[in-house]
């Protein structure tokens, strides 16, 4: 006599029904915290909701205002520049860091722990620290460079409209390089040594090994790192607020800042929501491109 003959079903976690059941809490959280707010955002984007006039349906009115808005146009251009610059510098820095660390035998663990620090520091704190370091009036960087007679007058990176964006890109990359470095380090360490050896035997020098062996083999993780870095860069304002407050002269005024201003300064929730939808569409498009590239890979 056994369970089957008694007609009792055996409890198996591997049963797909239970898998579905166990997913319900997670799905509920996604619905409540992601899907529902996203739908609310979409709905609000079609409303005239400016906290001055009664709330009313305005169709594509907000989108039309965005299209005609000089300031929104600036913010789109600035976010593209920022994202491109930050992602490129992060990729380069992360790759360099990973390659250096992959060759470290002793103390590698300690170095890897230390390299996380910029990533672990809150963005607002990073922004303040860098702003103070580069202050032309009391910053340590200008002071040291002037004492070393490398510059004649203090640097004014964050008050110069032509340099401010570079200054922000450098700081943003500094916070993201550890993350990229970890991904690429794992990828580098997963390349079998025999492949490098074989390439060496075939006469490939360091540069050729890098371009024809290393880079192709880490393409997947590199693309994933680039995708994540790009998406994160599109939503950055926590670093920009303490560094430059979007200035000088809108030099670092990105879409996230535009949305923040619409919600907290203009109290125009409808217009802010529309800008949020546009940002969502842009990041979705970029994500789809990366996913396509990954699939191709």
């Amino acid at each position: 006599m056994n369970a089957s003959t008694l007609g009792v079903r055996r409890f198996r976690l591997s049963n797909p029904r239970y898998g579905l059941l166990l997913n319900i809490p997670g799905l509920l959280i996604v619905l409540l915290w992601v899907v529902f707010p996203a739908l609310l955002l979409l709905a609000a984007s079609f409303l005239r909701y400016d906290n001055v006039n009664p709330v009313s349906f305005t169709g594509f009115g907000n989108y039309q205002r965005l299209w005609n808005s000089r300031v929104f146009g600036i913010s789109v251009e600035r976010i593209l520049v920022f994202s491109l610059g930050s992602t490129a510098l992060t990729a380069l820095g992360g790759l360099l860091l990973a390659m250096c660390l992959s060759n470290v035998r002793k103390g590698g663990g300690l170095l890897r722990s230390l390299m996380i620090i910029p990533w672990a520091v809150p963005a607002v704190v990073s922004g303040l620290i860098w702003k103070w370091m580069f202050s032309p009036d009391f910053g340590v960087v200008s002071d040291l460079l002037m004492k070393a007679r490398l510059i004649a007058k203090p640097l004014s990176i964050y008050s110069d409209p032509s340099l401010a964006m570079w200054g922000v890109i450098i700081v943003d990359s500094w916070t993201r390089i550890p993350f990229m470095g970890i991904i690429l380090l794992a990828a580098l360490l997963s390349i079998p040594e025999q492949i490098h050896e074989a390439a060496r035997v075939d006469g490939a020098d360091t540069l050729k090994r890098f371009f024809y062996v290393t880079l192709p083999m880490i393409q997947g993780p590199l693309l994933i790192g680039l995708m994540i870095t790009t998406i994160f860069s599109f939503r950055t304002i926590d670093l920009i607020i303490p560094l430059t407050a979007g200035g000088p002269g809108r030099a670092t005024y990105v879409i996230g800042y535009y949305i923040w201003d619409q919600i907290t300064k203009s109290l125009n929730f409808g217009l802010g929501a529309a800008a949020g939808v546009v940002l969502f569409l842009i990041t979705s498009l970029i994500t789809m491109i990366f996913v396509y590239l990954l699939r191709e890979k």
Partner: protein, 461 residues
Amino acid sequence: MKRLHWAALVTLVAALGLAIAAVPTWAGAKKSYEQINWNKPKPIGERIGSQKYVLPEGWKEAVKGVTKIKVSNFGALEHDPATVQNAKAFEELTGIKVEVLAWAEPPIVAKTVSIFAAKSAAVDIMCYDHPTTYMQMVAGGWLHPIDAIWNDPGVWKLYAPPTKKGLTAPDGHIYGSIGQVKTMMLFYRPSVVSKPPATWTEVQETAKKVTTDKMWGYVFSAGGEMDIVYPLRDMIYSQGGRMVELKKQRIAINTPEGKNAWKMLTDMVMTDKSAPSSVLEYSWMAASDMFAMGKAAMVVTHTVDANRFQDPKKAPNIQNDWAVAPPPKWDASKSDEFHASYFDIDGYMINKYISDPQKAAAMLFLDYMRSYEAQYRELIVEGNEAAVISVYDNPDAKKIPVPEARKAAMSRAVLETFPPAGRMLTDLIKEHFAYAIGGKMSPAEALEKGQKALDDAAVPE
């Protein structure tokens, strides 16, 4: 069956009895906050204007059941000792605990708006910056009207002349009250500036003369939200001009006064080189920081900064070498009434989504905070200005730096209330000022384009 009939009858009678008992509520019985008689035992002006605050009649019944009120505050409480002491004094008077919420300044408007948008009763009283956010908050329809606590013609005589007009919203109601007030004065280094400039033209000339490679002649902030508006506004007021055209709800900077002010500020940076180009990255405290570090000979800033300047730990380089003068008038052709700066109210407003007894307690708190007693602490303990002008005549006021000049400055200060989205509109001024200093446009072109941007963005009439 008989028992069922009796049960039904008893139920019907009980229901009717309850309904009749509730009639007073239906018939519009007084709400809790309407039970307070603000003009008893004395008219409001006398009650709050005397050195000892007197509670109004009916307050106990009105706040029955209220044990605590929550009040938001600009920044950390360690910088607001008067607020802390006033809250404690209110607790001792009424038994109602006051929980002051220290909110960091950059996101304070975002937090305030979040609470209102969610129709939350989480916070009873919100602090707000009057010139730039009052109209916005009124327009949002989130505030509880507090006309009752201002319902005495005598009360307005306690405060600077612009107060009544400034607090009255376009619909004729009052939604805000006074917490802390500030105005600006000229701080200077006597070792460098032997005679304090009385006019802005003198400030410009003096700054040029005293600028060295280690010290700027004059500094101001133009990097953070609203920052460039402070010096611009003061210069406009010192000429008798105004920034806000009330009827059209329009900010105007290309007036003759605005053009003069714009030219002076850009000249100081670009032509005279007496102010640094790094003003574009200075937030509102950075200019004062520069003065405190001994890197600037003059700055126009809030009088409360005197607390910092006299602290040897915070301003070691200027100890015994700083002094205060009235805010400058434009030039020698102007009379002394043009020694004018802006009148800043950090006010309080009541969340309309809280319960009626909480509203009563909140109104009582606002009543207290604008009183002589509370404003005395603001002046003497914290170093802000006193909204109640007669506080300056208190013997203790003689201990603060230049009390007569500060009293005069408060009496002449100008209060303008910006239209809705005021902070967004002033960002356009900041943007175009940076275009001028950064060389993207000439100062004149930047001013005209800035005005056009303001007009395009203005809320329709």
